[in-house]
Symmetry: C2
Subunit: 481 residues, 2 copies
C-alpha cells in the first residue's frame, strides 16, 4: 500500500478505507490526537491513536516536528474542526525531533526570527502559504506566455557586457586574489580569466531578449538577475527573479495592454488556485492590523484588494500629467514630501509614486513618456518634443504598497538615433555591435518590459518584506544557506 | 486592423479576408513572391506583389532579412507548396537589410559559422526549431510537476557554501583586484566582500531543495547552475540549466519511477506539440547522415528514436551487474576501451556508458547502487554490503548519444551515518549545520535527482553540440553577447 497525500484525504469521502499517511507532527494533544502535515496542503489531518494499546515510549516520541508514518482507517470525524480523521492502527516514527532543541515551537514566531532559520521556516503555515502562492504565480506566468505562443528564452546569467546600465554588477571570476595576472601596464589581464575577458552577473536579460524577439516575434525570459547595490530595504534583493517579455511589432500601447493582461491573469490564477493560502494570509494580515490604529488599517482585506485590481482598469497617464498632479497635491503644497516637486524633469521618488497610487487614484497606475534624461538609452525617443523636454516611450506600472512592479518601454528601433544616444552616454558602441545588428538588419518597432517577480509575490501574499517571499534571500552581508 | 500571426493564417480557411502580416523576408522570387516569416512558425507565408503597380525602388528594398508589413487579401494559393497566400495591396518596409552585408544568406550555413553569429542564428529554420522545442520542453517540465502538486523552488544562485562538491566553482565578488582587503595574516578578508564572506555560483540547488522537501513533501528546482571547469567538449557548458526534484518519503525505486515518467512525459509532449519542428530536424539529420557511410548512420530516425524511448521500459541494473557485462564485453576483451574494466570499483567512463546503452541494451539504462567511494557524501549507504564493497543508492540514467542525462540518489537520512561520512571526506560539518538540521528534526527517507536540461534538448532535437541548444553558450574563453 502506498501513502496518500493529506490534500487528497481531506477531500475523500470513501470512509472505511485503509490509508497510510506520512508527514510531520504539528501538535499532539491528550496523548491521543496527532495533527499531521505533509506539505501538500496548509491543512493538517488528525490521526487518533489509542493510547491505551500503544507503547508509552513510542508515544513520547510523538513530538512537534517529528516525521511519522501512520496507517489506519479513514473515518468521519466526530470532533469539531475537521471532517475526516484517521483511526490509527500502526504508528511509526521515521525521524525524531527533540522538543527541547527544535526551534519551531507550536506558537507564533516573529518573521525576523524565522528569517534566521530560513531552512526551517517552510514548515510554518505562513511560509507554506507564501511559497505555494509563489509557485502558482510562477506557473501562471509560464502558462500565460505559452498559451500566447511566446518562446521562453534562457538568456545568459554570466555576461561579458557591462553596458546594460541597470545597476552595479557582481564580478564572476576564477582569478585567485593571491596571484592576479597583470598586463605590462599593471592593469588586470582578464585574458587569463575563465572567459578570457571581464565577466559579471547579468542585471537584465533584455538586450539578449531583443535579439530573440527579432526572430521569434514574441519571447520572454524568467530567470535570476543581480544588483550589487548596498541597499538594505524591504524592497531590494541582491539576487531576484525577473520576467522580461520582448515583442516585435508591439508599440507602447500594445506593451501596456500585455503587461496589464499578464498581471491580471496571474492574480486571477492565484485567486482561483490558492484560495486556502490566500484566506490564511488574509486572516494573518487582519490579525496583524489589529495592533494598528483604526486609521492606519487597510481599507480592503487581501482578497478584496486582489479582486479590486482585477475589476478596474489601470490608470494610464503621462509623466507630465503626473508632475502636474503632484505639484498641486497637498503634500507638495504643505511641504510634506521629502523631495518637493518643483519642475518638469524631476525623477519620481517612492513617496510620489505612492501618493499617485494610494492617495490620488487609489488603483494601479501606468506612467508613460518620461523625460529621456532619466531613462535608459534603449528607449524609443518620442517625435516632436520641444527642445529640453525630450521624452521617451517608457511605461512604468506602479502598484499600491509596492511601487514600481513593471518597468518597460517601446525600444528605439532607429539605428542612427540609438547610436547617437549611446555615444552621448559614452556607452561603448563597438562592444555592442551584436545589439546594433538588430537595427541594421530588418529592424522593426518593438517593445518589452521587466516584471520583478518578488514584488509580484509581495503584492499577492500581502507580505511586507521582500526577504520573506524568496526562499533564501541574498542581501548585503547575507548569503546564508 | 491588427496584424495576424502567420501560424494562424496558414491554418485559416476564411479566404477573402483582409489581413496584415508583419515579419522578415526569407526570399523574394521573380520580383513577385515574398516568403515572409514572423517566427510564430517554421513555415513562411507567401505574399504576392503586383510588381507592375509597385514602385521599383520599394521592390528593391525587399531583401533577405528585411522587416516588412504587408496588407492584403488572404486567398487560396494556386502555386505548389502552400495552401494560402496573400494578395498584397500595401507593402511597407519596416527595416531594411543590406543584402551585401547581411550575414545570413538564403543558403545553408554551417553550425560553426552560425555559432559565431548566435545573435542572428535564431532567424534560421534549424534554430527556430531547436528553440521552439527547448521552450516546449521547459513548459512540459513545469506542467508535469505542477500537475503532480510539486512546489517550484527558486534555490539561490549565489551561495556561501562550497561543500556541494559537484565541481569547480566561479567566485562572485565585488572586491577590486587592485585593492584586495587583507587580514593581519595576509589572507583575503572576505568580511569586506559584498556578502561578508566568500561566495560562489551554485553548482546545484539540491541541498536547499532537500530543506524544502522536508516541509512541502515534493519540490523541484529549474534554474541555472555553473561549473568552472576547463572542458571544451560537445557535452559541457560553464553555465547550464538543471531540473532538480527532491521528494520526501521516496525511496530509490520511487525516484527512478518519477525520473522515467518525467522523461517520457516531456518527450511525448514534444512529439505532440512540436511535430513541424521535429519533422524538420528529422529531415535535417537524414540529410546530414547521407554524408556518412551506411554502417555509421542511425538505425532510427529522430522521431522513431523518440517513440522508441516512450515504448520501452528503461533497463534497470546495478553497477555490479554493469561491471560484469562490461568485463566480458568484446571491446574490453579486445582491449578496444581506452579505460579497460578490470575490477569492481572502477568509475565508468563515457565509452562504457555508451557501450551499455547503444550496443548492449540499445535503450535507456538506469544504473544503481554504485560504489560509495565514487559517489557523493549525501547518498544513502546500502545496508549489509561486504567490507570494501560499500555501495550507495545512486541512480544514473544513461541515454543513447548523450550519456548521463540524470544523476540522482536516495539521500542519506541517518544523522550519524551522514555526519561520519562528511567527516571522513573533510567536509566542514560546522558550516553545514543547516543541512544537518533536516536530519536532526523529523528526518525521513527521501530522494531526488538532477536532469541536465541542455542534454535533454540535445536528445530531443538530435543536435550534437550542446552549444547549439542554449541561446548564448558560455564555455572556456567564450562569453559573447
Amino acid at each position: 500500500m502506498s501513502r496518500t497525500k493529506i490534500k487528497d484525504l481531506l477531500n475523500a469521502t470513501d470512509f472505511g478505507q485503509q490509508v497510510i499517511v506520512k508527514g510531520w507532527v504539528r501538535t499532539f494533544r491528550n496523548n491521543q490526537f496527532i495533527a499531521i502535515n505533509d506539505g501538500s496542503t496548509l491543512n493538517n489531518i488528525q490521526a487518533v491513536v489509542d493510547f491505551a494499546s500503544t507503547d508509552e515510549a513510542l508515544l513520547k516520541r510523538v513530538t512537534t516536528g517529528a516525521a511519522v508514518s501512520v496507517t489506519g482507517e479513514l473515518v468521519e470525524s466526530l470532533g469539531k474542526g475537521q471532517r475526516v480523521e484517521i483511526k490509527v492502527t500502526e504508528l511509526e516514527i521515521l525521524g525524531d525531533s527533540d522538543a527541547e532543541k527544535y526551534p519551531l515551537q507550536p506558537k507564533k514566531h516573529s518573521l525576523e526570527f524565522l528569517r534566521e532559520i530560513a531552512h526551517l521556516r517552510f514548515r510554518t503555515n505562513t511560509f507554506n502559504a507564501v511559497f505555494k502562492i509563489r509557485h502558482a504565480l510562477a506557473f501562471a506566468v509560464h502558462k500565460f506566455f505559452n498559451d500566447k505562443g511566446f518562446v521562453y528564452m534562457h538568456t545568459p546569467i554570466i555576461t561579458g557586457s557591462d553596458a546594460e546600465g541597470a545597476g552595479e554588477m557582481f564580478r564572476v571570476t576564477t582569478i585567485d586574489f593571491d596571484s592576479v595576472p597583470r598586463n605590462e601596464d599593471g592593469t588586470v589581464n582578464y585574458k587569463e580569466d575563465f572567459f578570457g575577458k571581464s565577466t559579471n552577473l547579468t542585471v537584465s536579460g533584455q538586450l539578449e531578449g531583443e535579439l530573440a524577439a527579432m526572430a521569434f516575434g514574441e519571447v520572454y525570459t524568467f530567470g535570476p538577475t543581480f544588483r550589487a547595490e548596498n541597499s538594505n530595504t524591504t524592497r531590494h534583493l541582491a539576487e531576484f527573479w525577473m520576467i522580461e517579455p520582448e515583442m516585435a511589432f508591439y508599440d507602447i500601447h500594445d506593451n501596456m495592454d500585455l503587461a496589464e493582461e499578464l498581471l491580471k491573469y496571474v492574480i486571477r490564477y492565484a485567486l482561483d488556485n490558492c484560495s486556502d493560502e490566500l484566506e490564511f494570509l488574509k486572516n494573518r494580515l487582519l490579525e496583524e492590523e489589529k495592533q494598528k490604529a483604526q486609521n492606519e488599517r487597510s481599507e480592503l482585506d487581501l482578497i478584496a484588494k486582489l479582486n479590486f485590481c482585477l475589476e478596474n482598469n489601470f490608470e494610464r497617464l503621462t509623466y507630465t500629467e503626473a508632475i502636474n498632479i503632484l505639484k498641486s497635491s497637498k503634500p507638495n503644497q504643505k511641504k510634506q514630501f521629502k523631495y518637493l516637486i518643483d519642475d518638469w524633469g524631476a525623477d519620481l521618488q517612492s513617496e510620489h509614486e505612492r501618493y499617485l497610487v494610494e492617495k490620488h487614484f487609489k488603483k494601479p497606475v501606468i506612467l508613460t513618456d518620461y523625460p529621456a534624461a532619466i531613462k535608459s538609452f534603449y528607449m524609443r525617443r518620442n517625435d516632436g518634443d520641444v527642445s529640453g523636454k525630450e521624452t521617451v516611450r517608457a511605461m512604468d506600472i506602479l502598484f499600491p504598497g509596492i511601487g514600481e512592479i513593471v518597468g518597460g518601454s517601446q525600444r528605439e528601433e532607429r539605428l542612427d538615433v540609438l547610436q547617437k544616444r549611446m555615444e552621448d552616454l559614452h556607452i561603448p558602441v563597438g562592444e555592442m555591435d551584436w545589439y546594433l545588428d538588430t537595427r541594421r538588419f530588418g529592424s522593426a518597432p518593438h517593445s518589452g518590459f521587466g516584471l520583478g517577480f518578488e514584488r509580484l509575490v509581495l503584492f499577492v501574499t500581502g507580505m511586507t518584506n521582500i526577504r520573506d517571499v524568496i526562499p533564501f534571500p541574498r542581501t548585503p552581508k547575507n548569503a546564508e544557506f
